[in-house]
Amino acid sequence: MTTATVQFLTHEGELTPHPDHEVELSPDSLRKLYHDMALSRRLDAEAVTLQRQGELGLWPSSLGQEAAQIGAGHALGAADYVFPSYRDHGIALCRGVDPLEVLRMFRGVSNGGWDPAENNFHLYTLVIGSQVLHATGYAMGLAKDGAPGAVLVCFGDGATSQGDVSEAFNFAAVYHAPVVFFCQNNQWAISEANERQTRVPLHQRADGFGFPGIRVDGNDVLACLAVTRWALERARDGEGPTLIEAFTYRMGAHTTSDDPLRYRDAEEVEYWKRRDPLARVRTLLEHQGWADGAYFDTVAAQCEQRAVDLRTRLRATPDPRPGDLFAHVYAGAHALVEEERAQFAAYQASFADARDGGK
């Protein structure tokens, strides 16, 4: 594969044709991409605010990665199955997952929350790299079933260092599994820059396992869409796995617990602000005459409305009940869980009694 970065849209918002890849452009599709990116950004900002207000325990912001996520999200078909990492709120949005579900998880209401089967969107995985093997196994199953669809699995630049990810690359290659490895290289793994993780551009990792790796401008939604679509089609057509390295930038902190001022320069952030994934689409929409100020105002208002709605619903989210501890540990019976559940209930009741007794 070429080591050049696939780009369709420069950071000044100009279209650049690409020899190998293409994407059809229409006012509607471009506006939809813009809309989803704007919504993703707005809800992400809302989540950061909600965390500051104590409504969430933690939030890993996707700020700056909207092109990668919305591009990949738009490439997916209904039969495709996604294994996200923990920062893929944009893809969740494209899949139709209620953002409230994602926030509930970071509120500490559940460790997962949504129904993966409903939108073919698996739960977030926090143990770095684990899900890459799950995705590969799922893809092996798809192939066994002769089912349509492919698997897209998301992970970060840091994750590529984990043995599990290399094992997944190898299993996928050996079994020729219909899986697209979608690495969002946001250049940071918490405080560690790419050179602490790898000596070579990450898409090159695929060469060593025997399938194509390709780098795409991760801040160019059109390129991300086109390349992901291409890779998914390859997978569906039985051509095996692909590694996509979406080269992007984590504009914010690693999570709301993190302080990036300790480890990276303000200039770097400024540099990447000028490569903002939304700005360039906005420029293109304007240049093409496909959207005007009124349109952008409408989008902003819609997003605002969604944010307000999300905030309201989150605040109304009840805590789980203590007895839920024991609810889903096993599918079948487990004597110890039953014993502890009963002891716990009795213990809880003794408190209620004590309270009622006016203690």
């Binding site: 799950h134 196994g137 096993y330």
Partner: protein, 326 residues
């Protein structure tokens, strides 16, 4: 009733064969399980009969095997994974502990992961390092996993059926030194309810609680003790998570003395949990503290030392004597 006499390895083989035939979603996977039929031949002939889409020789990567098995289970499959030897399960430990065990709870019960992980375990076969260990405590401590281990061919057959058809992940420990011991397998009727301990021998003076490879040692010890006038009850626990404390309690409240026996190190081993819980349940019934026989706090030794390391008849009888001396 269709009873046949089979070595345990062959009983498991027959059980897997039945599972593969009964449900197209059952897949067997692991290192060398296909063409070779596994280093212990437990999967012998399965790839030949069910094809390489059902019985997969995998790359040499335990995390990869369990991780992809989880993915297959998410896609509706029921993978039965073989880990070649006890000491080689640890590269997969992360996938087992953080993913396999927890994903059901994480999904609020929406996801089920019916993955069976078969692990030939235990010593006594004169093997090199890492081939004789008993890591069951490291799995029993982890919520979300079921941990079982048969002691004989009939149980092995049926417990495998229960493991494959159940909807929970099961760590299935196979006592490798009993693979060639023959036993009766009734393919029409399961010998005991799932996750129940059974009384392998009735007695009244003391209870021995064991599982897997040590059940036979305890039965032999009970024989010898009987010759010396001591009536020993032997329990075959069969399952460590859940652990059937009711059966243990009932036995102890009859005999008033309990000795636990396993190959794994005593320190933080199964015997500790059994001792602690039974002492709590049956405090006023115990006439002696629960004594524990097991491995020492050292790495499993080279094979020329394993006789000294492993609990045997004498060590069990020594503990029986000590318990009776109270």
């Amino acid at each position: 009733m269709t009873v046949t006499t089979l070595p345990m390895a062959k009983a498991i083989n027959e059980s897997l064969r039945r599972a593969l035939a009964a449900d197209a979603k059952v897949v067997v996977m692991g290192e060398d399980v296909g063409r070779l039929g596994g280093v212990f031949r437990v999967t012998d002939g399965l790839q030949k009969d069910f094809g390489d889409q059902r019985v997969l020789d995998t790359p040499l990567a335990e995390s990869g095997i369990v991780g992809t098995a989880i993915g297959l289970a998410l896609r509706g499959y029921r993978p039965v994974v073989e880990i070649q030897f006890d000491g080689f399960v640890f590269p997969a430990y992360d996938q087992i502990v953080t993913q396999l065990a927890k994903m059901r709870a994480r999904s609020l019960g929406r996801i089920k992961l019916p993955v069976v992980i078969r692990i030939p375990y235990g010593g006594g076969i004169g093997a090199v390092e890492h081939h004789s260990e008993s890591p069951e405590a490291l799995f029993a401590h982890v919520a979300g996993l079921k941990v079982v281990t048969p002691s004989n061919a009939g149980d092995a057959y049926w417990m495998m059926q229960q493991a494959v058809t159940g909807d929970d992940p099961v760590i299935f420990f196979e006592p490798k030194r009993r693979y060639w011991d023959k036993g009766e397998v009734d393919v029409d009727a399961a010998p005991a309810a799932v996750h129940r301990a059974v009384v392998a021998r009735h007695g009244s003076d003391l209870t021995l609680a064991a599982y897997g490879p040590m059940v036979k040692v305890c039965l032999d010890a009970a024989d010898v003790a009987a010759g010396e006038g001591t009536s020993v009850e032997v329990l075959d626990l069969r399952s460590l998570s859940p652990l059937d404390f009711d059966t243990v309690q009932a036995s102890v409240e009859k005999t008033h003395r309990l000795v636990t026996v396993h190959e794994a190190p005593v320190f933080f081993g199964s015997g500790a949990e059994i001792a602690a819980r039974i002492t709590e349940r049956s405090f006023y019934h115990l006439e002696a503290p629960v004594l524990r026989v097991g491995g020492y706090h050292c790495p499993y030794p080279p094979s020329r030392l394993e006789e000294a390391y492993l609990p045997d008849l004498d060590r069990v009888l020594d503990a029986v004597d000590r318990a009776l001396a109270y």
